[in-house]
């Protein structure tokens, strides 16, 4: 529990005091993220679940009862509930089968299932495909997808025009798609040998 929060009034927490909440969520986001990633090694899904948990807590803050436990235990309960919901959702849908190259072949026609993203070989395929791109393309893709920057910010960071960033990102996406398909086929062939 954050010491500052422990000292302050629970009323401020329930009423939505901005400073208390800023302090609280800045400590809870990494903790919740770690919990979800430990369950499913999938950063995108972990981000979705952290977001859902934090918003569930914000919207239900009026129902928090200090006599039942600390706010940390309370938000952990919400997170566990979201894990159960996700597990139930997964159990109700057919598990993806077939080799990994078939999913990468259809990368622009259907969403990749979470289960495919969580396979160990997927991370290796992505790392291998990324390493085959030009360094500038790697930087642009990481800036866009990991750092969440827009074209203007990327252009400032890379010292190029915004138009150049757009065309670089376009080329990088096409190249990455090709490299992913190739790396996936190589992975499948390697497993067969």
């Amino acid at each position: 529990m954050p010491e500052g929060l422990e000292q302050r009034s629970w009323l401020g927490f329930a009423e939505g005091d901005a400073e208390i909440w800023r302090e609280f969520i800045s400590q809870q986001i990494p903790r919740l993220y770690g919990l979800f990633v430990k369950r499913w090694l999938n950063p995108s899904l972990a981000e979705e679940l952290v977001q859902k948990t934090v918003f569930d807590a914000v919207r239900g803050r009026g129902s928090y009862d200090p006599s039942k436990g600390s706010p940390e235990e309370w938000i952990l309960g919400i997170a566990r509930n979201n894990i159960s919901l996700e597990a139930r959702k997964r159990a109700s849908r057919p598990s993806p089968n077939g080799d990994i190259s078939s999913y990468f072949a259809a990368i622009d026609t259907r969403p990749l299932p979470d289960e495919v993203l969580e396979r160990q070989e997927t991370t290796l395929i992505v790392r291998s495909a990324m390493s085959r791109l030009e360094p500038k393309e790697q930087t642009a893709l990481k800036a866009k997808y990991i750092e969440g920057l827009d074209a203007r910010d990327i252009s400032r960071q890379m010292n190029v025009t915004e138009k150049a960033v757009h065309s670089m990102l376009y080329r990088a996406r096409i190249s990455l798609r090709q490299e992913l398909k190739r790396a996936a086929i190589q992975d499948v062939e390697g497993q067969r040998l």
Binding site: E15, G16, A18, W21, R22, I25, S26, I29, P30, Y33, G34, V37, L41, N42, P43, S44, A46, E47, V50, Q51, V54, F55, V58, R59, I107, D108, T109, R110, P111, L112, L117, T122, T123, V126, R127, M130, L141, K142, K144, Y145, I146, E147, G148, L149, R173, L176, R177, L180
Partner: protein, 124 residues
């Protein structure tokens, strides 16, 4: 029509590719902690949501207070005074004109009915 369908398919495939690549590229970052961009964006969205809901609650509370404290009280007192004055006036006029007491009672009943009508409107 076919061209429209082709265009829609093309844009959908671009969006789908973009989403899939975003999820894949994130696999290359440190899995132990969330990215700074995600943390900042979520924190700012959460604080925005809290601010909005606190302001909405405050507005609702103020509206209720204004209704009860001012408008209703003022109109209520005015209507009550008018009803009392009208009742008094009905008796005085009836006495001065030496009217039948039934007429005076009728006048009072009319005022009372109007008062009830006003109260009914407030309740509904």
């Amino acid at each position: 029509m076919k061209r429209e369908n082709d265009n829609s398919f093309y844009y959908n495939s671009i969006i789908l590719l973009d989403k899939n690549l975003a999820r894949l590229v994130k696999l290359t970052c440190d899995p132990d902690k969330p990215t700074e961009a995600f943390t900042q964006s979520l924190t700012s969205n959460v604080l925005g949501e809290i601010k909005r809901s606190v302001e909405a609650n405050k507005r609702t509370r103020e509206n209720i207070l204004v209704k009860v404290s001012w408008l209703d009280k003022a109109v209520g007192w005015a209507a009550m005074s008018a009803a009392a004055c009208a009742a008094g006036l009905a008796f005085v006029v009836a006495a001065l004109l030496k009217l039948n007491s039934c007429l005076a009672v009728m006048a009072i009943m009319t005022v009372f009915a109007n008062w009830l009508n006003y109260l009914g409107g407030l309740i509904l």
